[in-house]
């Protein structure tokens, strides 16, 4: 179980190999890699080209938030391994932003926990995206769909 917040890119293959190395109880590894998209769809139709994205975060609180989210996933699913690597700083379209990987004896738990981690980190970890577009810089607003995606994991 680990969390990293870094400016540098990461090597997905090397990260996954390190995560599962020596643990033969893992039968399924679910992986999500978030990338910088070249277009931003606003209100469903309007499109802005993105030249770059700059991610700001709150050092200290970011790591603590991600650790809490990861701990919550471990309470809910039988996980053998998990990893969150989230970048900050300036990135161009096509670059990797975030890696979430979850290993479990069986695939169901791995898929579900991976989706849970991505949904919750989008709404509960202190990151903010600033887009560099041909019209100038623009802060990305919160997305209602992300709130709904995170809310479905709330326990009633």
């Amino acid at each position: 179980m680990s969390v990293r917040v870094q400016e540098a890119d990461f090597d997905v293959g090397a990260e996954l190999a390190r995560l599962t190395d020596g643990n033969k109880r893992i039968g399924g590894l679910a992986v999500f890699v978030g990338l910088v998209r070249e277009m931003h769809v606003r209100e469903g139709y309007h499109r802005d080209r993105i030249d770059a994205l700059t991610l700001e975060h709150y050092p200290g609180m970011t790591e603590a938030s991600l650790q809490e989210i990861e701990a919550e996933a471990s309470r809910r699913w039988p996980l053998e391994a998990s990893l969150i690597v989230h970048r900050y700083g300036r990135m161009e379209p096509g670059e990797r932003i975030v890696l979430v990987a979850v290993g479990s004896p069986h695939r169901e738990a791995a898929f579900e926990a991976c989706e849970f981690l991505v949904d919750w980190l989008k709404t509960k970890a202190p990151f903010w995206k600033l887009e560099d577009t041909p019209k100038g810089e623009q802060w990305v607003g919160a997305h209602e769909g992300d709130d709904a995606a995170a809310a479905r994991w709330e326990k009633t």
């Binding site: 709150y58 709404t123 202190p126 903010w128 992300d146």
Partner: protein, 83 residues
């Protein structure tokens, strides 16, 4: 007490962080927001009533009724957009 601002709030307020000494009667995050608005037009705009922002007390997400007693660092920020 240190006050920190993130993302667009940092630009609207004009500084990323500031040290403040709270007057008596500022007991909660909500009290602090009201008091900070009087510091400058930028503060008033960033922390306006109805503006979408959240807060953290000593790096833990906090609602406006959370008490400030003993806190060292308060942060204000727009909704998170990571991932």
């Amino acid at each position: 007490m240190k006050i920190r601002y993130f993302a667009w709030m940092k630009r609207t307020v004009g500084v990323p962080e500031e040290e403040v000494t709270l007057p008596d009667g500022i007991d909660t995050v909500g009290d602090l927001v009201v008091w900070l608005r009087s510091r400058s037009p930028g503060h008033a705009e960033a922390l306006a009533e109805g503006a979408a922002f959240g807060a953290a007390v000593d790096q833990r997400t906090a609602t406006f009724d959370v008490k400030l007693a003993g806190a060292r660092e308060i942060a204000f920020f727009p909704p998170f957009t990571g991932g």
